[in-house]
């Protein structure tokens, strides 16, 4: 079960039975538009506040995941989810509607993989038949929580990133058809002393590299074991730094097979600076885009490494540096070879 210090291997191969995604209009104009289940044309998602819109995205994604396998909320035993707003209220409020026993998580933008790792662990040791997990973020809620009012005219530097408006939810079961979760590595909190909240990619890159290195060592595999190692939201800057760090420590990693969710969502014309970010970033890309590619047979084995910056506006104003974390989860196609 546990290999090494912080890697779980799941012998019973928990299955991702289905997944649902819901996004906002800006993401709907991006590159992965065909992979989402629900695209809201309105940033408010027909609600009267952005916080309610974030809750709506969560509910939409959850309902999509349930509908695809004709399940009801009462069939689900637990839900592991979180978001970026204060006290993760959107997730809690959505779970009030769904009425599923709930674990609220906060791992900043790494919440998606934190949830998937925990859900897979519990499913693997037969602690539940059906578990839901996912994460949500809304651009305007995050701007309000962490930065300035949305309409305030502050000039953003080119190193800043654009928070995704979107939710991705998945259903895990002990048996069934679908991609399987084979292992997970839990990240340590790593702080390299960076303190610029407009350059999160650089702050998070060492955490991603640390978790990936630990995962490869503890599973005893080389990077090319995976068809794709994909980080959550390092953006252009963070990805380049991560590649540099791998080179420095002598890990050979093919840049073609080392991608970032934050660089897949938007097209080049969209003004997102260094890339996308947010808890919904890795959740929508994995549960929308990557699972489809696994089901199509384009990908066989992937490692998803969601990265999170564990800061708050308060710690930033108190001149603290930015501690970061990354959680890795390995997903394989259901019919793939046993490893």
């Amino acid at each position: 079960m546990i290999s090494g210090q912080r890697t779980w291997t799941f012998q019973n191969r928990p299955v991702i039975l289905s997944a649902g995604t819901a996004v906002g209009p800006f993401e709907g104009e991006g590159l992965l538009a065909d992979d989402y289940d629900v695209i809201h044309e309105d940033l408010w998602c027909s609600q009267d506040s952005y916080e309610k819109a974030q809750k709506k995205l969560f509910e939409d994604a959850a309902n999509q995941a349930l509908d695809k396998v004709s399940k009801k909320p009462e069939d689900v035993q637990f839900i592991f989810a979180g978001d970026l707003s204060n006290q993760i209220t959107s997730s809690s409020f959505a779970c009030r509607t769904l009425c599923i026993p709930y674990f609220g998580l906060f791992g900043a933008c790494s919440t998606s993989m934190e949830g998937l790792a925990l859900a897979a662990f519990i499913t693997n040791c037969r602690g539940a038949d059906l578990i839901m997990t996912g994460a949500v973020s809304h651009n305007c809620v995050v701007e309000k929580t962490f930065r300035y009012p949305t309409e305030y005219g502050a000039q953003k530097p080119p190193s800043s990133q654009w928070t995704v408006t979107g939710a991705g939810m998945a259903l895990l079961a002990q048996k069934g058809d679908g991609p399987v979760v084979t292992s997970a590595t839990i990240g340590k909190v790593i702080d390299m002393g960076l303190s610029d909240p407009y350059n999160m990619g650089a702050a998070m890159a060492p955490a991603a590299v640390d978790t990936i290195t630990a995962h490869l060592n503890e599973r005893g595999v080389e990077p090319d074991f995976y068809d794709l190692i994909i980080t959550g939201d390092l953006g252009k800057i963070g990805r380049n730094i991560a590649l540099d760090l791998f080179r420095e420590q002598g890990t050979e990693i093919d840049p073609e097979k080392f991608k970032d969710c934050g660089l897949l969502i938007y097209n080049d014309d969209q003004p997102v600076f260094a890339g996308a970010s947010g808890a919904g970033c890795s959740a929508t890309v994995l549960y929308g885009h990557l699972l489809r590619r696994i089901n199509n047979g384009e990908l066989n084995r992937i490692l998803v490494v969601a990265t999170g910056a564990l800061l708050s506006p308060l710690t930033y104003q108190q001149k603290e540096s930015i501690p970061c974390i990354a959680h890795a989860v390995a997903i394989e196609s259901g019919g793939g070879a046993e490893s």
Binding site: P149, Y152, G153, M192, D244
Partner: protein, 159 residues
């Protein structure tokens, strides 16, 4: 000084990493930003001047009395553009060009008011409207007080 002190608290590992990270940092285009801010900020001032002349020649204002309606007009336009969701896009290009004139002050108040509207009029709009503008008022008033004090003590009183 602050930065130097900060660097001293870093471990060698952190320092080495920051050197690596710095190589990949995308720098702010400071010179281009300054030029854009100068041109756009200047254009806003020219526009303000045009409004002032309009008030002076079309109505019965003098150069001194035309100031107030001119500022009010600029504030109105800035608030309207903020409400329409255009001002922040314009500001991404203009930077300090839209932040320094009175329009920037109007934008900071209007955007905070819009942002916190869902929390109610009193604690939401009223309580948060000066969230960004508050520090401008605090330090502006304080600076004015100091200058007034200096003028009084040195006996210079401008006319």
């Amino acid at each position: 000084m602050g930065k130097k002190k900060k660097m001293q608290n870093l471990t060698p590992e952190q320092r080495q990493y920051q050197d690596t990270a710095q190589k990949h940092e995308i720098k702010r285009p400071v010179v281009a930003n300054c030029i854009k801010a100068f041109l756009i900020g200047g254009l806003i001032c020219v526009f303000g001047q045009a409004i002032q002349l309009f008030y002076m020649y079309q109505f019965d204002f003098t150069e001194k009395t035309a100031g107030n309606p001119t500022v009010a007009t600029l504030i109105f336009i800035a608030v309207l553009l903020t409400g329409l969701g255009v001002y922040d896009r314009f500001a991404q290009i203009a930077g300090a060009g839209t932040a320094v004139p009175v329009t920037g002050f109007a934008n900071s108040m209007a955007s905070a008011a819009i942002e916190h509207r869902t929390e109610g009029y009193v604690l939401g709009v009223g309580g948060n409207m000066f969230k960004l503008a508050g520090s401008v008022i605090v330090f502006g008033t304080f600076a004015a007080f100091i200058i007034a004090l200096i003028l009084n003590l040195t006996g210079f009183e401008g006319g």
